[in-house]
């Protein structure tokens, strides 16, 4: 039986979603702990999220 490539794309997107969720959550925690570092944390969060998002989109196009 052959598994369609869309399933793989979906799995990859689930992974990317969990990853971005974790980044967001951890960034919230970090901001709560150190509100004065808000700007730096946000920038780092956006970069990390953007990098993961790239993988998600690559998976969508591959699938």
């Amino acid at each position: 039986m052959e598994i369609p490539s869309v399933v793989g794309a979906g799995l990859a997107v689930i992974g990317a979603g969990i990853g971005i969720g974790m980044i967001g959550g951890k960034a919230m925690e970090a901001i709560a702990r150190q509100p004065e570092a808000y700007g730096k944390i946000q920038t780092a969060m956006l970069i990390a999220a953007a990098l993961i998002e790239g993988i998600g989109f690559a998976a969508i196009f591959a699938g």
């Binding site: 700007g39 920038t43 956006l46 970069i47 953007a50 990098l51 998002e53 790239g54 989109f57 690559a58 969508i60 196009f61």
Partner: protein, 376 residues
């Protein structure tokens, strides 16, 4: 003061929601499946076009009349051929130019015979010859408009700054914080105090260019420029070229000799067989990720919006209208945010890559690193 603001707000709201007007004017042929029709409409919207379509109407006979501006077609086919895209009649007719015949098929120009026959291979791809197409398409028009707008806006802002002793006036009050943010939090933070200045023109240009194009994509003009992979590829290629042509000795050393003097040469050989190809691949993957991200985000946004508008035609009852309006209104607001965010991310990552390329290890720092390696 109050009234003009309200007017502007209403205008913006009308412009943003105008997407809705688009689908409602699409051709409604009887007998054709609604879902495939909507799908075709979305696919057509995502593509570049030789015709700047504003809207279309259907008369009683089910014939579609398009209203818009035909754009010039420029072909290189044994000599330059320039003619108006109105000759194609939206792909329905064959255009004859200097004894050659051309036909539009899925927004691409093919050379055909006088009857416009298109031959296909087994996978249903046309086998006709495609002349080199340098046409001024819809995307090109929008990019030219955006370029001119940026040129006019920022040169007039520069003039007003020179006149008013560097005090912002008018639009300057809106743009100054953005420019300062790009300088302080993107350029200086990632490239460094010493070298950020030579990258600033590019970073500012690319930020506003992408942002404005993204915002134009949300207007009822129905353009999808940053959701066109050729456009984002061109932007990423520029980033790639700047990164590698401004790369310092340390940048190249980091790629071809990442471990430096921390290890004897016979130890390096084994590691470098794996490490150096990865570093070289990384050179290309970075801009590739940049182009895919922008393209995929904008395309996804357009597809979602158009699909929500398409709900009206699928429901065919009073539920569809309010539902579609509410959802597409919410998504439009998110898209406004995404338009800014994607421009920011693109600029940010470009600055990050420029930072990698222009970094120079000062000697104290290097010794520290060596000490750290030795300690490990």
């Amino acid at each position: 003061m109050r009234k003009p603001f309200l007017l502007k707000f209403l205008l913006a709201a009308v412009l943003l929601l105008g997407n809705t007007a688009f689908a409602s004017d699409s051709d409604v042929e009887e007998g054709k499946d609604k879902k495939t029709e909507i799908k075709e409409f979305i696919e057509h919207h995502l593509q570049d076009s030789h015709y700047f379509n504003l809207y279309g109407t259907t008369d009683e006979h089910g014939k579609v009349h398009h209203v818009g501006i035909p754009l010039p077609v420029i072909l290189w086919d044994n000599g330059l051929k320039v003619f108006s895209s109105s000759k194609f009649h939206h792909g329905e007719e064959v255009a004859e130019v200097d004894g050659n015949y051309y036909k539009l098929y899925h927004s691409k120009i093919y050379k055909t015979d006088a009857e416009g026959t298109i031959t296909y291979d087994e996978e249903h791809h046309p086998t006709n010859v495609r002349p080199l197409d340098f046409s001024i398409t819809k995307s090109v028009v929008m990019m030219l408009v955006t370029g001119l707008l940026l040129l006019w806006l920022f040169s007039s802002l520069a003039k007003s700054y020179a006149k008013n002793n560097s005090v912002p006036t008018g639009a300057g009050r809106f743009f100054e914080p953005i420019v300062l943010y790009i300088r302080d939090d993107i350029a200086i933070a990632n490239i460094g105090e010493k070298k950020y200045k030579r990258y600033m023109p590019f970073l500012l240009t690319v930020f506003f260019f992408i942002w404005f194009l993204n915002m134009f994509g949300l207007t009822p003009l129905g353009v999808n420029v940053t959701g066109n992979i050729a456009v984002t590829t061109a932007l990423a290629v520029i980033v790639f070229l700047i990164t590698n042509f401004t790369g310092t000795k340390d940048y190249w050393k980091h790629i071809f000799d990442p471990l430096g003097d921390g290890m004897p040469w016979y130890g390096k050989i084994i590691i470098y067989i794996i490490l150096v190809p990865i570093e070289i691949l990384g050179l290309f993957i970075k801009p590739f990720a940049l182009l895919i991200r922008l393209y995929a985000n904008m395309t996804a946004g357009h597809v979602v919006l158009m699909s929500l508008v398409g709900l009206i035609f699928i429901f065919k009852s009073w539920v569809g209208g309010p539902l579609s309006f509410g959802l597409s209104f919410a998504i439009s607001l998110i898209e406004v945010l995404v338009a800014l965010l994607q421009a920011y991310i693109f600029t940010m990552l470009a600055a990050l890559y420029f930072g990698f390329a222009s970094e120079e290890h000062d000697h104290d720092h290097e010794h520290e690193e060596e000490a750290e390696l030795a300690h490990l």
